[in-house]
Amino acid sequence: MAERKGKYPTEPLKCWEKAKKIREDYYRNYATAHERGGLRWAGGAWSFDAIPAGLGEDVYPLTSEPYGASCAYNKPFSLRCLEATEKAGYARDLCAYMRNYWGSILLNEYVFGGPFPKPDFLWQDHICCSHAKWYQVVSELEGGIPHFCIDVAVGPETEINENKIEYIVGQMHDGIEFLERVTGRKYRDDLLIKAVKNHFRSTSTWAKVCELNKNIPAPLDEKTMYSLYVLGTLHKSSQVVADFYEELYKEVKDRVERGIAAIPNERCRVMSDTQPPWGFLGVFRYLEKFGCVSIGSLYTFGLIGAWEVDENGEWVHRKTPMERGVTINDRDSALRALAEWELHKPEWQHFYSPQLKSEMMIRIARQWKLNGVMLHYNRGCEGLSLGIAENRLALLKAGFPVMIFEGNMGDEREFDMTRTMSRIDAFMETLGMKKEFD
């Protein structure tokens, strides 16, 4: 393999090992929670994880999308999971994360080793058709686990009003009653408030980190970012994740100041869209052979990151309610601030119109100075593939070359690596890029 050369210096991230450890601790702590008298709950990566935090400091979540992605990365295990769900009668075009997760239950195998750790309760929110139904089935497969789900599909951020907020906050209050009932624990508002503030810190700081990728050279590439943003999808309301993101921000800022690049030969910048095919992340390394860096995506930036448009029309991290001077001193004010904050989540907007997503993507394409866009037509996720064909048309109209590749984030049977590489070859050629090394 020829050595790649470039004009920019590069170096590994110093906090990389720490990120790995946080993730490892997370999955281990969940599995062993009962040994310490703690509680386990499962739910989606978008669920309001700050709310169960009020049950105590020994309450551990398992967010199922990142879990499904971990399964998908382990291709032989994933295949067994997918086949187990199909054998149980479920359609193979359903959400691939969900099928990997159900497969783990059916096989009674945890992807990190040992039997699948059954949760004590299920805590979810619902904006995609599969969200609440996912856990309806989990509850059935696990013999009837208590299940609570909050409907957050109340419209885009441009239409937020008191009626919508009250609907969500009301459900949150009902959810706390549910948590007390099914666990028999007394709820602690002080822990809720602390977790809610951590949530704001994590999600705002992750956006700050992504903002730094506006710089040329980009200090981070998307493949690396997948390993970092995931912490926010695991436990965004935890102290450890909020603190880690602040540490990460400092390090990435330092990289920018010193001109440290993610890839030394950066000559071309693209973004992707939707979850990547987790078993085939080599696609991103392949781009580097052309001097091309994927600087992120609306997905990596906005799945967890909190954003807003500043007075100059720039897309920047969202200022936390604490920075805005919002008082959060009791249960209701904490829940209200949380609901309002999440309704601005970028990845929730496109559920109402592809145009809202196109506008954000075009903003990224311009402000992060992109040469082109790679859209993953992801058969594994109907929620994030929603409207993607319209996004393609809008990006083209805005003047950005677009390559599409079809695949599946969590079902390797629906991804064709060779064909995708060929498409990348052709796309790079249209962008005027030549392969620099093999």
Binding site: C95, Q136, V154, L386, L393
Partner: protein, 381 residues
């Protein structure tokens, strides 16, 4: 039967009907996706709501707009718009339900000029007590938008009258469907589907009048064929009259069969429950849509569809169920396993079919015939 022909012609000539209605009344026509649209508010404003459905013809115009992993129905609906078949529409709306049909709406408003468009945030958690106040608020906002669009205030009396007209329609439809409980139902599944499709396209007052006329004669009707196996159809959107026709005429001598009831959104889910007439009209409408038999996308955390389906199966003495869905319909795929299990536990055999834009007649014929044969064989033992 002459009284039935009215409904058939409405379905067949749906576009001509709507154009003629506009000419006759001077009113506006609004196309809608999904049966959670609160039609009563539109009706009270003098607007004719017509449900946008597909044409069941192969098409090649939606590929640039909707990724192929989404259901064929949503693409077929969008194709109708792109081909200009609904060019007479003055407005278009959707009530929030599944992600699939939502794309037909969003792409339509992006690419086809229309005077009024509206996305109604119908709550998903209809099992939450919080959904009533929320939906009432959303309906109020919607009512204001319709008033602004039409330039006409929607008075409370008009809303109450619309609720009465719609409730009467629902009652008449229930009367009609009750006749299907008979040992020899006087109406086929294909005919019943035609009538329920027509009610989603025409002025409810006219549909009511036609229904009353039909109900005056139908109870005395004797069909010239045996009822045979009593079938139920359970699933997603289904306006595949050709499929029902095929099954009911498959092998009339050896394996006669009749659809006696359905549980899908072009059928009973559309009209099964009424709005209470004794309260604040907007809250009454909210209650009606929240408490209706749910679409699977809203049937959580508890599964309320299943007891409803089982009750229908008992009331209509169902012997076999065809569980069908649009290909790639995630919400239904998330219910199918549980529904089939519940029906089989009740002793009702099921056949699962996935529908596309066109009905694969040959394949379905063989599968349905085998299913009917299986059901018939049970009688022997």
């Amino acid at each position: 039967m002459r009284e039935l022909e009215t409904f058939s012609s409405w379905v067949k000539d749906r576009h001509e009907y709507a154009k003629d209605w506009k000419k006759r009344t001077g009113g506006r026509v609004l196309g809608y996706f999904c049966t959670y649209v609160p039609e009563e508010i539109l009706y009270a404003a003098g607007v004719l709501p017509v449900r946008v459905l597909g044409s069941h013809e192969p098409q090649n115009v939606t590929e640039p707009h909707i990724f192929g992993m989404f259901c064929p129905f949503c693409r077929d609906c969008l194709a109708q718009g792109l081909k200009g078949r609904y060019s007479y529409l003055d407005g278009l709306m959707i009530a929030q339900s599944c992600l699939h049909i939502r794309q037909a709406y969003t792409s339509w408003v992006l690419h086809i000029p229309i005077g009024f468009s509206y996305y109604l945030c119908m709550p998903h958690k209809v099992q939450s007590k919080r959904s009533y106040k929320f939906l009432r608020g959303e309906l109020e906002t919607f009512k204001n938008a319709v008033e602004k669009w039409t330039g006409r205030k929607i008075e409370e009396a008009a809303l109450r009258e619309a609720i009465q007209v719609y409730n009467e329609n629902r009652r008449l439809m229930r009367q009609l469907f009750d006749l299907r409980k008979r040992e020899e139902p006087p109406i086929s599944g294909e005919e019943a589907m035609t009538i329920s499709l027509a009610e989603q396209m025409v002025d409810k007052k006219e549909h009511n009048a036609a229904l009353k006329e039909l109900l005056g004669k139908l109870p005395q009707r004797k069909r010239e064929r045996p009822t045979g196996t009593r079938l139920m159809i359970v699933g997603s959107e289904d306006d595949d009259l050709a499929f029902l026709h095929m099954v009911e005429n498959l092998n009339k001598d050896q394996y006669p069969a009749t659809f006696v009831i359905d549980e899908h959104c072009t059928g009973t889910r559309y009209f099964w429950n009424e709005a209470p007439e004794d309260s604040d009209p907007l809250m009454a409408i909210a209650r009606r849509y929240i408490e209706r038999p749910p679409c699977p996308s809203k049937d959580w955390e508890e599964r309320k569809r299943i007891p409803h389906i089982l009750q229908l199966a008992r009331d209509f003495k169902v012997q076999g169920a065809i569980v069908m869905q649009q290909k790639f319909c995630d919400p239904h795929e998330l219910d199918t396993v549980a529904i089939r299990k519940a029906l089989e536990k009740e002793g009702i055999k099921t056949l699962f079919l996935e529908f596309d834009v066109t009905v694969p007649a040959g394949q379905f014929r063989i599968r349905v015939e085998a299913f009917l044969e299986t059901l018939k064989q049970e009688d022997l033992f």
